[in-house]
Structure formats: structure tokens, C-alpha cells
């Protein structure tokens, strides 16, 4: 973990422990600080940021490491979420504990990843992109329509009253008191999500430096050369899909337990694109960049939501443009401007940067 952290922050060994301690304190105190400074709503935003970071890191394995453009990633998120919801809600009257349902959802998502990957990984570049996009839409349409003749997903109404994440009698769904400190539900979820996010970051870092990670990089750079070097490209690509899908499924389960309500609306193409934006905007293949991209794309829309109305009031004295429209407008413009300013992402990986400055045409 410590070596990983050194690499992650690009600092030398002596300062690593200090940085580790500092970072831990900041991360532990963050929800209380934000709660005190900006209000509880922002802690919820923080929880979502962590969820999206997990998703973005999962997609980063597929897009950033292996160089496979996946436009239907949200399907795996949906699979994980629906798995959790169906096995932990009054929908079927099944109430399995979350430590069974969560791995099950991740496993199911992994299975779907292989199911999608196996026939399609022969396709290259944009063909793969459109097939994954189609797959994402298929999953969403099925979720929308599987309420008749047998009601499985409850259709567009979605599934509500999903069990909160709980171990024994200890539920994250309501405020708890630990060592005399009161923890509201959003804070508890924050710590849980933080643990999982750190786990995903750790796995990503270890994967990156492993034999598999190097195989992914080789495939990304030149698939033919990679297979000539003895890499079983199909299996390794399949592994990337399965890994990415597993993380997606995990995040999906957490999402369902956190929200208590899910509907097919949360799993549309825009979500897939949003997650892809996080990966590309932050800097493909670089874990720090992806984390940064995830935070940015959750916080910017929230910030503009708050600023769009009040800033107009303050500057012009009246609301000229409806805040919701202005928010979307600013978000779209931000995407364009950031990409024009830094085409390789805000924080690209050093390897990618070398590739970009070289004269060879960049891949993906």
C-alpha cells in the first residue's frame, strides 16, 4: 500500500509516511468538515463522487489500460444495482444480507462482461464502441420492459424500499453513534465507499504493474505485435472486460443500497458517456487523473447548479436564463474547453505523455 501510495503521489520514500498520515486524516475528517462548512447535501455529493470514481476506475481498466472503447459501461452498473435490489427488497420478498448480495452482483456483472466480450472482442475500435453501446441500450430496454408478463424489474417505476446496507443489527441506513460521536447515514456511507474506493485504487495500481497490466498496455499500443510476443490477446482483452465489469457491478450494488431506490432511468447512455468523460477528461490510464476527473465531473454540475441561479441574481438582479439550462450549457462548454486546452486529459499518465510527444500516431 505504501509503495503504491508513493507511486500514486509521485513523492519520495522519506515523506511517504507523512503524506500517508496526512491523507488519512484528511479523508477521515472530510465528511465532518464538509458537513460543517457547506451543509449535509454536499456530503451526499461526496458519496456520489466516490461511487463515480469507482465506476471511472473500472472503465479505466477497459479504456485506459487495454484501449478498448466501451460506450455501454453503465450496463454493468445496472446489473450490480438490480442484483442488489432484487435480492434485498420487498419486490420478491427476499432480504439477503449485503455481504452476500454485493459480491454476487459483482460476479454477475463480471459474467455479463464476459458474455458481451466473448463474441465482440474481435471487433476493432469504433465497431466495438457501437456494439457496447448497443449492449448498454439492450440492458436498459429490458430493465424497462421486464414487468410483463412476469414482473421482474417493475418496469419504469423501478424498485423502491431497497434494504439499506447493514451488518447484523448495524445499519448504514440511519444515524449511528460510535465512541460517542454521532455519524449520520451519509457519513457512514462515505466511510464504506471510501474503503471500497481505496480497494479499487489499490487493485488498479497492482494490476497496472503486473504482467497482465503490461499485456494490456502492449495490446493497446499494437495488438499484432502483442500477439506476436506470445500474448493471448483474446483472453487478456476478455480479462480487461471482466475486471472492469466487476468494479461496475460492485459500484452498482453500493448505489442501490445507498439510494434505496433504482429505476432504469439511472442507467442510460448519458451515464455511460459521463463515466467515459471522467476517464478521458482526467487522463486516461492514470489513476490519479481518473480520480480527479471523477471528482470534477460530479462537483462541477453541482457547483453550477448552485451558482447558476444565485450568480445571475447577484449580477443582473434577476434570473435571465433558467438555472438548469445554464448549468447544462456551462457543463457542455467546460467539456469542450478542457479538451481543447488539454487534449490528453488534465493529468495524463507519463507513459501516455511520451506516446503523445512521439511522432507516431496515438492509439485510441
Amino acid at each position: 500500500m505504501r509503495n503504491a501510495l508513493e507511486r500514486f503521489l509521485m513523492i519520495d520514500k522519506r515523506n511517504a509516511w507523512l503524506a500517508f498520515a496526512l491523507l488519512s486524516i484528511i479523508l477521515l475528517a472530510l465528511p465532518f468538515a464538509i458537513d460543517g462548512l457547506f451543509g449535509r447535501g454536499w456530503v451526499r455529493v461526496l458519496d456520489f463522487a466516490l461511487l463515480y470514481i469507482m465506476l471511472a476506475l473500472g472503465l479505466n481498466i477497459v479504456v485506459g489500460y487495454a484501449g478498448l472503447l466501451d460506450l455501454g459501461y453503465v450496463a454493468f452498473f445496472a446489473v450490480g444495482a438490480y442484483c442488489y435490489a432484487l435480492l434485498g427488497s420487498p419486490q420478491f420478498g427476499i432480504h439477503l444480507p449485503f455481504w452476500i448480495v454485493l459480491p454476487l452482483g459483482a460476479l454477475l456483472a463480471c459474467f455479463f462482461g464476459v458474455l458481451l466480450g466473448a463474441p465482440t472482442l474481435r471487433l476493432r475500435g469504433d465497431y466495438l464502441a457501437i456494439v457496447t453501446l448497443g449492449f448498454g441500450e439492450i440492458i436498459r430496454i429490458f430493465l424497462n420492459n421486464l414487468n410483463a408478463p412476469i414482473n421482474i424489474t417493475n418496469g419504469p417505476q423501478g424498485i423502491s424500499i431497497i434494504d439499506s446496507i447493514h451488518v447484523g443489527g448495524f445499519s448504514l441506513g440511519r444515524a449511528q453513534e460510535i465512541f460517542g460521536i454521532a455519524f449520520p447515514a451519509v457519513h457512514l456511507h462515505y466511510y464504506l465507499f471510501l474503503i471500497f474506493t481505496l480497494l479499487v485504487i489499490f487493485v488498479s495500481l497492482r494490476l497496472q504493474d503486473s504482467r497482465i497490466g503490461r499485456a494490456w498496455a502492449a495490446i493497446r499500443e499494437d495488438e499484432i505485435a502483442a500477439s506476436a510476443m506470445g500474448i493471448n490477446t483474446r483472453n487478456i482483452k476478455l480479462l480487461a472486460f471482466a475486471m472492469g465489469a466487476t468494479f461496475g457491478g460492485l459500484a452498482g450494488g453500493l448505489f442501490a443500497g445507498f439510494q434505496g431506490f433504482i429505476s432504469p432511468e439511472s442507467f442510460g447512455l448519458t451515464e455511460s458517456i459521463m463515466i467515459l468523460c471522467m476517464v478521458v477528461l482526467g487522463g486516461m490510464g492514470n489513476i490519479g487523473g481518473v480520480v480527479f476527473g471523477g471528482i470534477l465531473l460530479v462537483v462541477i454540475p453541482e457547483l453550477t447548479r448552485h451558482l447558476a441561479g444565485t450568480a445571475q441574481q447577484a449580477l443582473l438582479g434577476k434570473t435571465v436564463i433558467d438555472p438548469e439550462s445554464l448549468r447544462m450549457l456551462m457543463f457542455g462548454l467546460a467539456l469542450i474547453l478542457i479538451m481543447l486546452w488539454r487534449p490528453a486529459g488534465l493529468w495524463p499518465s507519463s507513459q501516455r505523455r511520451r506516446e503523445l510527444t512521439a511522432s507516431a500516431p496515438p492509439s485510441v
Binding site: 476493432r124 456494439v131 430496454i141 467515459l276 450549457l329 457542455g332 469542450i336 479538451m339 481543447l340
Partner: protein
């Protein structure tokens, strides 16, 4: 039999709209290797501009043909301007950037265009003014309306015109040359920048016409109509073999037919388990199947390796 024929006609009408939009995707892809995700929004803007012009002019007592011509011209001009500026602002600076960078600007652009459209035209569904009489022709028990006949004729002639342009004229030769090899084309004296601009402008003009046609056919226009349409049209382009003009036309028509026949018969085929709301799934399943067995699309050349 008459139901079958009816579905074929509906499929052809829908398919010719897909084809027109797919051409825009495929032309840009053929030349730049770029998925122009904002193309669907141009279709929507085309429909919306035409809608406003028609609403404005209908009260003034002009003849229908004149109104139609003006609205068509205006929406084409607006879309061409948007298409041109889109390329200049969001794509040209990124021509040598990583391939996913223009994808993100395209997504940004489509968010901006959608939001602007929402601000101008509101969130509600607009009913597209009925321009034609509800006259219809009966062929062997199937009904084809006047609008549908016009759509098929216009689409066919537009596509024929485009093929002529690309394969018979000097400009078309320049376009093909840039698609083949931009630097070699530049050495031969082709101004590849202006060729690329013209490609975007042409695609946008086709998109405008497609937008008007689809709104006239269904009678509604909405600021979100471009998203799914663009997706389907891109699917059609891939189905036919992206980068290939004839492929886009074939892919569009096929997708239209598959959708309408699929939606019409899926209930019977699955014993009532699946209904016509699985229409979209049907299209995507066929797409995946085609790509698995013929990864370069129906008419696409077998490309050895794309860098």
C-alpha cells in the same frame, strides 16, 4: 399480406431518414476517422428551425410550396453554419490529438446544442404543422401517405445526387483523395481543410432535410429527438460499413425495415412474451449479429489494421 406490405412501407420511410442521417456520419468518419456524436443534434435543429419558419409563414397566406421551400432553405443554411463552425471550433484544433479527445468535445457540443434548443423552443413536444393533405394511396391493401411518398422520393434523389457528387465531380474526387490519404492529397494540391469543411457542411444539409422529413412524418418535433435518431443512424452507418456511402444508404434502409418488421412480428414470434416496445432491442441485436459475422459491416472493405 397487407400487414407485411404496410410494415415494409413504414420501414422504407423510416429507413430513408436513417440513411440520410447515416450519410453525415459516414462521410465525416471516412475522411477524419471521427465519430461526430453531435450530428443527431443537427437533425433536431433542422427540424426545429423549419418548424418555426413554417409557423411564422402559415398565417401570412403564402402557398404551401413556397413555405416549404423557404423553411427547407433556411433550416439547411442554419445547419450548414452550425456544421461548419462545429468543425472549426471543436474538431480542427484536435486533429492530431488522441482519438478520444474529439469524442468528448462532440459530447460537449451535443449537450450545448440540446440546451440551446431547449432554451429557444422549450421542453414541450411541438406538433409539426400538417403541410400536406392526408391523401393516401392504397397499394395491395397497404396505405402510403403523400408525406411518405415525398420522403422516399426526396431521400432517393438526395442520395443519388450525393453519389454523383462524390464519384463524378472534381470536388468528389478531392474528397475521396483526402479520405484515402490526407497528406498525399495535400501534395497533389488538394486543400484538405476546405474539403473537410465542405464535408461537414454537406452532411449538415442532409441532416436538416432528414430532420424536416422525420418531423413531417410523425407530426412532432422535440429538443431531444436528435439523440436516439443519431444513435440509430450511426448504427445504420456501422451496419453498412462505416466510411462507405452506399453502405450507409443500405444500412439505413435495412435498419428501418428490420425495426418495423421486427416490431410488427416480435409478438407473434415470441408467443406474446415480447411486445413491440422491444423494437430498439431488435435493431441492436441485428447490429451485433451482423458485426460478429462480418466485423467490417455489410459493404465495408476489410481493413487490415487501423492504427
Amino acid at each position: 399480406m397487407d400487414i407485411f406490405l404496410q410494415q415494409v412501407i413504414n420501414g422504407l420511410v423510416q429507413g430513408s431518414v436513417y440513411s440520410m442521417v447515416a450519410l453525415g456520419y459516414t462521410m465525416v468518419y471516412g475522411i477524419l476517422g471521427l465519430i461526430n456524436f453531435a450530428h443527431g443534434e443537427i437533425v433536431m435543429i433542422g427540424a426545429m428551425v423549419a418548424l418555426s419558419v413554417i409557423q411564422l409563414l402559415t398565417g401570412a397566406g403564402f402557398p404551401i410550396f413556397f413555405i416549404l421551400l423557404i423553411s427547407l432553405m433556411l433550416s439547411m443554411i442554419v445547419c450548414m453554419i452550425i456544421g461548419y463552425s462545429m468543425e472549426r471550433i471543436a474538431y480542427r484544433p484536435l486533429r492530431n490529438a488522441p482519438r478520444l479527445a474529439p469524442l468528448i468535445t462532440a459530447i460537449g457540443l451535443s449537450i450545448v446544442l440540446q440546451t440551446l434548443a431547449m432554451m429557444f423552443w422549450g421542453r414541450e413536444y411541438h406538433s409539426f404543422p400538417p403541410l400536406f393533405t392526408n391523401d393516401s394511396v392504397h397499394i395491395a391493401g397497404a396505405i402510403i401517405t403523400e408525406v411518405q411518398i415525398i420522403i422516399i422520393i426526396v431521400a432517393m434523389s438526395m442520395m443519388g445526387g450525393l453519389l454523383m457528387l462524390v464519384h463524378r465531380t472534381r470536388l468528389g474526387r478531392a474528397m475521396r483523395a483526402v479520405a484515402e490519404n490526407p497528406s498525399a492529397a495535400a501534395l497533389m494540391g488538394v486543400n484538405s481543410n476546405s474539403v473537410i469543411s465542405i464535408t461537414f457542411v454537406l452532411g449538415s444539409a442532409l441532416a436538416a432535410i432528414a430532420g424536416i422529413m422525420i418531423s413531417a412524418n410523425y407530426g412532432i418535433a422535440h429538443y431531444l429527438m436528435g439523440a436516439l435518431l443519431g444513435l440509430k443512424a450511426f448504427t445504420a452507418a456501422v451496419l453498412g460499413g462505416i466510411g462507405n456511402l452506399r453502405g450507409a444508404m443500405l444500412g439505413g434502409l435495412l435498419l428501418g425495415l428490420i425495426e418495423s418488421l421486427g416490431a410488427g412480428y416480435i409478438g407473434d414470434l415470441s408467443g406474446g412474451f415480447l411486445g413491440s416496445h422491444y423494437q430498439d432491442v431488435f435493431a441492436f441485436f441485428v447490429l451485433i449479429a451482423v458485426l460478429i459475422f462480418r466485423p467490417s459491416g455489410l459493404l465495408g472493405e476489410r481493413v487490415a489494421e487501423r492504427a
